[in-house]
Structures are given as structure tokens and as C-alpha cells.
């Protein structure tokens, strides 16, 4: 029983990590007023670029770096559409998703079947040998350890720095930000680039640390789950940690039950995270709408 519980908790952390990076990515862009439904595509680009780089160089750290860069650049193009060209954010996001699906498939096709060593677990000396607590807390890859601190960092930057304040102002009311001498477009581009890097890392964690093989469309809707998680987290980076663990738990539960041979169809168990997203949104959505940035999804038309 204990080993099952530990397995479940460890699984929640593993599955929750890419969700957390993805959710932080979406929190940043939505705080800047931009809904990014292309997150799924960003993650796929990160997963493919990260895997390809790792397979070619044998260096997983380079893979993560490449994934972050790919995600950031991919999101900059999204920015070109929705910021410079003032295109509809939802349609542009979906187009970016399609693009990510296709590009990552093309990029990954020559790596189908290749195996990589991926990101190794960093065993923290002594602590990782502790009974129970050892495997539970001190035996993960580096991206897992960094996820929490990055969430705190995002929180600090958004809420305690001048730059974060400007960014949130753009998301609430770009005209006011403009009047205060800020350049809303430039801030949104910055936000999207950082968000893209986090989204790329989310994908890389899936392909380099968890799966360690390449598979077409391996994100399987996690980008959309992250969009739901942002609403669940009330656009707050620290709540996102809790939400990601919860949703990671749903994914881990399903894996754990399959491993134990529980006689429930794996397809029914696979539905869990999606249904959980919907249920959470239905309960949350009605009451907590006011937490959303004021100008979310609207196009800043300039002041002329």
C-alpha cells in the first residue's frame, strides 16, 4: 500500500511538472492580455526540438535549451500575428497549434524509434536514501526541482517588480499602460517570448525526461489542460503549483491503476484529466471570472 501511495505521489510530481511549466507559460501571456491556445503547438515544438537536439548531441541540457529557444521563437511568431497584425487570438492560437503539430511531426520523423538517455535523476546524497521521503522528494530530474522555484520567481516578477506591474497593466488596460509611457506591444512580445520558453521546456520535459522517445502529438491535449488550469489557478503562479500537482495526480492515478491491473478500461481512465478540467472550470468558472485580466483577449487598437 505504501509503495502504491509513494508511486502515486511521485507520479503526480512527474506528470505535474510539464503541466506546471505550461500553466506558468499561459499565466504570463494571459497576464499580458493574450490568450494563447497555441500552447499545445509550443509544447510540441519544444518536445521535438529538445528531443532532436538531445539525440544528436547526447546532451540533455542542450536539448532543454533548444526547446526553450524553439518555444520562445514559435511564440514570437504568434506575437507577430496577434500583436503586430492584430489578428484574432483564438483563431491564431489554433493555427499555431496546427503548425506545431505539423512542424514537430516533420522535425521528429527521423527520430522515431531512437532512444536517448535523457535527463538523469539527480539523487540528492543522503536525503534520497531516506525511507519513504527519499524516493518521494529527493529523486527527480533537475527540471522537477526547478519547477517550484520558477513558479515563485514568476510570481515575484509579476507582482513585485516594475516590469511585472507594467505587464499586468497592459493585460488589464493597455491604454492606461500606453498613457503611462509604456509600450504595450513591446511588453507583450517580451511576455510571449518568456512564456514560449516555459512552454518549450514543458514539452521538453515530456520528451526528454518522461517519455525518452519521440512520438507524434505526444502532448495529447496537455496544452489545453494547461489553459484550463490557468483559470483554475485564478491566473496566479503559486496556485498553479497546486493545480498542476492535482492534475498531475489525475494522470498519475490513471497510470498507477493501469500498472496495478485494475480492471477498468484504460480509455476510461485516460478521460480523467479532461473531465477534471471541465468539472473544475464549471465549478470555478461561474464564480471566479473576475480574477481574469481585464483586457484578456481584446486587441489593443492603438490610440490613434
Amino acid at each position: 500500500m505504501e509503495s502504491i501511495l509513494i508511486g502515486l505521489l511521485v507520479g503526480s510530481v512527474h506528470s505535474g511538472t510539464p503541466l506546471l511549466y505550461a500553466t506558468l507559460s499561459e499565466v504570463i501571456s494571459e497576464r499580458a492580455g493574450i490568450v494563447n491556445l497555441g500552447l499545445e503547438g509550443v509544447m510540441l515544438m519544444g518536445a521535438a526540438a529538445g528531443f532532436a537536439t538531445t539525440a544528436l548531441t547526447g546532451n540533455a541540457a542542450l536539448g532543454v535549451l533548444a526547446a526553450a529557444l524553439a518555444g520562445g521563437l514559435f511564440n514570437l511568431f504568434f506575437g507577430f500575428l496577434v500583436i503586430t497584425r492584430r489578428a484574432n487570438q483564438l483563431a491564431s492560437g489554433l493555427a499555431m497549434m496546427f503548425c506545431g503539430v505539423g512542424l514537430s511531426a516533420l522535425l521528429g520523423v527521423s527520430f522515431v524509434g531512437s532512444k536517448i538517455n535523457g535527463l538523469d535523476e539527480v539523487r540528492i546524497p543522503l536525503l534520497s536514501d531516506l525511507p519513504f521521503a527519499g524516493p518521494m522528494f529527493f529523486n527527480y530530474d533537475i527540471l522537477v526541482y526547478l519547477a517550484g522555484p520558477i513558479a515563485v520567481l514568476v510570481w515575484w516578477v509579476l507582482f513585485s517588480t516594475r516590469w511585472g506591474l507594467s505587464l499586468r497593466t497592459v493585460g488589464e488596460n493597455p491604454t492606461a499602460a500606453f498613457a503611462a509611457g509604456k509600450n504595450p506591444y513591446f511588453l507583450q512580445y517580451q511576455a510571449l517570448f518568456i512564456a514560449g520558453m516555459l512552454g518549450g521546456i514543458a514539452g521538453a520535459h515530456l520528451s526528454i525526461a518522461l517519455a525518452k522517445t519521440w512520438q507524434e502529438w505526444m502532448t495529447a491535449g496537455r496544452g489545453f489542460i494547461a489553459v484550463a488550469l490557468v483559470i483554475f489557478s485564478k491566473w496566479h503562479p503559486l496556485w498553479a503549483v497546486f493545480g498542476s500537482l492535482l492534475f498531475g495526480g489525475a494522470i498519475a492515478l490513471q497510470l498507477q491503476m493501469q500498472a496495478m491491473g485494475v480492471p477498468i478500461s484504460p480509455f476510461l481512465l485516460d478521460m480523467l484529466p479532461y473531465l477534471l478540467s471541465l468539472g473544475v472550470l464549471a465549478v470555478w468558472g461561474g464564480a471566479r471570472r473576475f480574477a481574469a485580466p481585464g483586457s484578456l483577449g481584446r486587441v489593443f487598437q492603438g490610440t490613434e
Binding site: R86, L268, L278, R298
Partner: protein, 349 residues
Amino acid sequence: MAEAGKPAGSFSAEGHGWAAGLIRFGGLFGIALAAFALVLLVFGKNPIKAYADIFSNTLGSAYGFSEVLVKMIPLTLAAVAAALPARIWLINVGGEGQFHMGALFAAWGALNFASLPAWLLIPWISFLGFLGGGLWALISGFLRARGWVSETISTLLLNYVAILVLSFFIFGPWKDPESANYPQSAPFADAAILPSFFGTRVHLGLIYALVALVFFHLFISRTRWGLEMRAVGANAEAARRNGIPIGRYIMALMFIGGGLAGLAGMAEVSAIHGQLRPSISPGYGYIGFLISWMAMGNAAGILAAAFLLAIITAGGDILQMTLRIPGSVVNILMAIILFVILARKGGGR
């Protein structure tokens, strides 16, 4: 999320000359083709060969052309499924899930009422297909009408659930015991197969698609409801004060839209596959949404865009065979076409 952006189906396509529109459309399409060629070049594939293969296997022969028509059937239905709710600025990105639910409901009818004669069974499974897709979309419609969940995100999430539901049945209770290794249902009775025409795979679904398109056009331009929907779309608050029941419109349009996508699923499993299997759709629901977006809610535009994207969809299979690249690579071409439309002036409206 609720107010995010202005979805497809605005009126800006109206009032322009058809010829000018066609030229502009052609120009954008040319840019998209060139950009996709560049992507193929970067990845070391021969774009000229790619386009030549696609052309000769689609428009280059009578059979190829008939296959384009075959692809147009689900695409047109899925496009109307997105375009109808878009009249009141609802974003139905759930065509894919509604398609699978329609296929599932229709398969249930085909497997359990196999003894019925065709003239009864075909209307029955058509009804079931419509019902399946409609009910699936109604979930999102209800959640939206209550103001709980944005239909964009709920339809997207339900797509994944619908595909899992279908997988559950064909890997489990409905699995054909005769086919030991393949997860698929038993073959449908002959009476449950939609008739096809002229010795090609073009089937009765074509009539459904055309009727749906005409119905859509007349509905939005000639009926009181169509007018009221414009009012809802233009200003929901004013419409509410004029006594237009917005919640009911949302649910009705989602139901009918989803039903049409379900009809596409029904037609596809009945006429093309003859049984329920996995991967019955290369993303018809998503492509249908793109078509609806490209056409700006215009019925003739839907037909033209469906034709274009049917060629590209068929092209995916062809590229997979001739260039040995994943079929999903055509997603890039679709995305690029959308990019040029979105990036042109006024793409936000």
C-alpha cells in the same frame, strides 16, 4: 475567456466584388503554397514533386477528383457545424469530438438494428449520428449558456474525451471477435451502408452536405431567427433586453451544429469504413473549423474553402506515400493558409 476575441462569422466578406475577392484569395493561397514549399525545402524534401504528386492524384484524374469530393463531404458538414454557432460568435472547435460521437451513435444503430431494411435503417442511423454529435455539443452549449465554461475550451477538451469513448467501445464491448488483432467493430450490414454513386466512393453524404449548406444559407439570410441571431451576435446585451432568449439560441445552435458534425461522422463510418475503427478522421472537425473561419460564414465561401482543403487533406495521404513524410505535415500548409489570412489587414475582424 467568455468575451475573448471576436470569432468567425462576421459580415466583412459581404459587399465586396466576387472577382476581386477571388483574386485576393488566389494571391493569399499562392503565398501560402510558396511558404510551405520553403518549409519542405528546409527539411530536404522536393516541393515541386510534392505539389506535382498532389495535383496529379487529385485534380489530374477523374478518380482523383472523385476522392476530393469524398473528402469534401465531412469537411463541408464540419464547416457548417462551426459556422452556424459562429453566427452568434460562439467558437465551436469541437467538431472533431462531435464527429466521433456521431460515428459512435450511428454505429450503435447499425450494429443493433441490422435486420431493418435500408430505407428504414439509413434514416435511423442518420438520425442517431445527428443526435450523437448534437448532444455532445449541447454539453458545451449548456455550460456556455449558464456562463460557466467558455465553449472554446470545453469543446476542445471534449474532443479528447469523445475519441477515448470511441476507443473504449472498439477496444472493449464492441470489438469484433472475428478480428482477433484489430480493434474494430463487426462490419455493418449492407443495409447500413450509405449508397455511393457512379462506381466511385462519392456517397449519399454529399446530398446531406449540400442540403446542410443550402439550409445554412437560407437560415441565416431568409429567416427571422437568422436576423435575431445577427442581433445577438452584434450586441448580446441589447438582444437580451429586446427579449431574445440568448441561452436558448446558444444551446440550439450548438446542438444543430454538433448534429451536422455528427452526421459527417455517421456518413464516414457507414460509407467509407463500413465499421467502427480507430482513426476514422484525419482531423475533419478541426479542418472544418478552419474552413468556416476562412469563409467568414459565407455559404459559397465554405464550398470553395472545403474544396481547397479537401485537396490538401487528400494531399496528406499522398505525401505520406510518395515522400515518406508524416501525413500530419499538411497541418503546416493549413496553418500557413490561416496565417496569411490572419496576418492580412483586418484579420482580427
